[in-house]
Symmetry: C2
Subunit: 261 residues, 2 copies
């Protein structure tokens, strides 16, 4: 049995001590093997990764992208800074590659922050995950897993699902190659995105608007998944050459960073 | 608080009475508002949607697709029969559109069935969901939600996550447009894929190999999400013209069904 409990927090809009706040809110019964799923936005705010759009000076390339997709040159400038590559876009969105992953608008978001400001992704999500895990271990002696989660669209589907940016203390991807199924067929290509599944499960309680629930405590995750591993964003990525979607859609990776078509 | 409990079942390999089996296995404490997430493969087997590959006669087009992507003409024939359109592929996979959704191999799967046989998707997943929900209501007087789930890859990411094919008695997509966030910003495009989130949450217990857990009982889903709605696969779909991924990747929908490049 797996259980998910919401951890409600105050509304935050500038840098704060995430481990101290979390430690104060999770209550007394945190146990070894519990997993905290924490929204990337909450982590990013704790790290002060907030930018006032009016303070951003867009380069010529950013103005070009902005004109093409019909939105703010300042936001486009931040997207170019944050992403490895911009693949294309539609009005109001660009599809970027960040740390090897397809990420609309390079993860930059205008919601749940004051108007005129945006929140970037944490600078290094896996270091954020590891930092929170280590700090809570130091404070409480409890061995936890931590997942940093965001929400994202899937192609040709309506609505966002949870997605993991990084995790620590947990097997983020469960490799099933070589394992047998119920009929002894050997699985050849299967792996299971545990950290993404946990992010989606947590999204049921986090919501997307004013729920004030950026942390979800998950209990009962299989012990076999709780290990001292760290997964950074790149560990969740496969290249476009390996990807059935990108190859089927005829996408060819560009050689340079920060090109766009 | 949300809880997820695995419902272990016998291994099944031919048609069976899904509501009767489920009724016998879920135990006494099923409550109004509980949600059952059921694997599409288990539902499909209950409906006898199993095909021996040796019994399939491939058309010329299927032989062509098979030669191009290096796999069985019989399997390609089934994929053509099951899909609206084949977009492209890589060795061992074709990317098809089925009921408006991008679906590798049109959802046809060789795992967890005897060698030489494959399992198709349920013929009408939302009717399957509605049927199971109604039958359990009749048997027990309990008002449940039902989600039919599968697992699927996301582009440029490693590992599968849960995805919903249909649901009944549950708000599958939560529309948040017009709702305010914590700072009063109005959300303009956001909706949350509740049925997909539930499918991914359930996948943590279902696994992908020999877990014998094709049903997960979810308790504690917000009452606001439990409604008499039905969602079929098409309700989860957006067209390629609306999709930020497909448009950014330059995909143009083909006019006819069952074309491939």
């Amino acid at each position: 049995m797996i259980s998910l409990a919401p951890v409600r927090t105050p509304r935050m809009n500038s840098e704060f001590d995430l481990p101290a706040l979390t430690d104060g809110l999770v209550g007394d019964d945190l146990r070894d093997g519990d997993v905290l799923v924490v929204s990337s936005k909450f982590v990013a705010i704790s790290e002060g990764r907030i930018v006032s759009l009016s303070s951003v000076l867009p380069r010529a390339e950013a103005r070009e992208v902005a004109a093409k997709y019909g939105f703010s040159p300042q936001l486009c400038e931040l997207i170019l800074r944050e992403s490895d590559e911009v693949i294309g876009g539609v009005p109001g969105f660009v599809l970027a590659v960040k740390s090897g992953l397809l990420t609309p608008n390079a993860g930059i978001d205008k919601s749940n922050i004051e108007h005129g400001r945006v929140v970037l992704y944490p600078r290094s999500p896996h270091q954020s995950a590891e930092f929170l895990r280590e700090a809570l271990k130091f404070r409480r002696g409890t061995v936890l897993g931590v997942v940093i989660s965001d929400s994202r669209l899937m192609p040709m589907r309506r609505g966002t699902v949870g997605v993991a940016l990084a995790c620590s203390g947990l097997e983020g991807i469960l490799d099933l190659r070589g394992k047998g199924d119920l009929f002894g067929n050997i699985l050849r290509v299967t792996s299971q995105a545990i950290a993404d599944d946990l992010s989606s499960a947590a999204q049921l309680l986090m919501g997307e608007s004013d729920e004030r629930t950026p942390i979800v405590l998950v209990r009962g995750v299989s012990e076999t998944l709780l290990r001292g591993s760290e997964y950074e964003s790149r560990d969740f990525a496969i290249s476009s050459e390996e990807c059935v979607y990108m190859r089927s859609l005829g996408y060819k990776a560009k050689r340079r960073n920060r090109q766009f078509s």
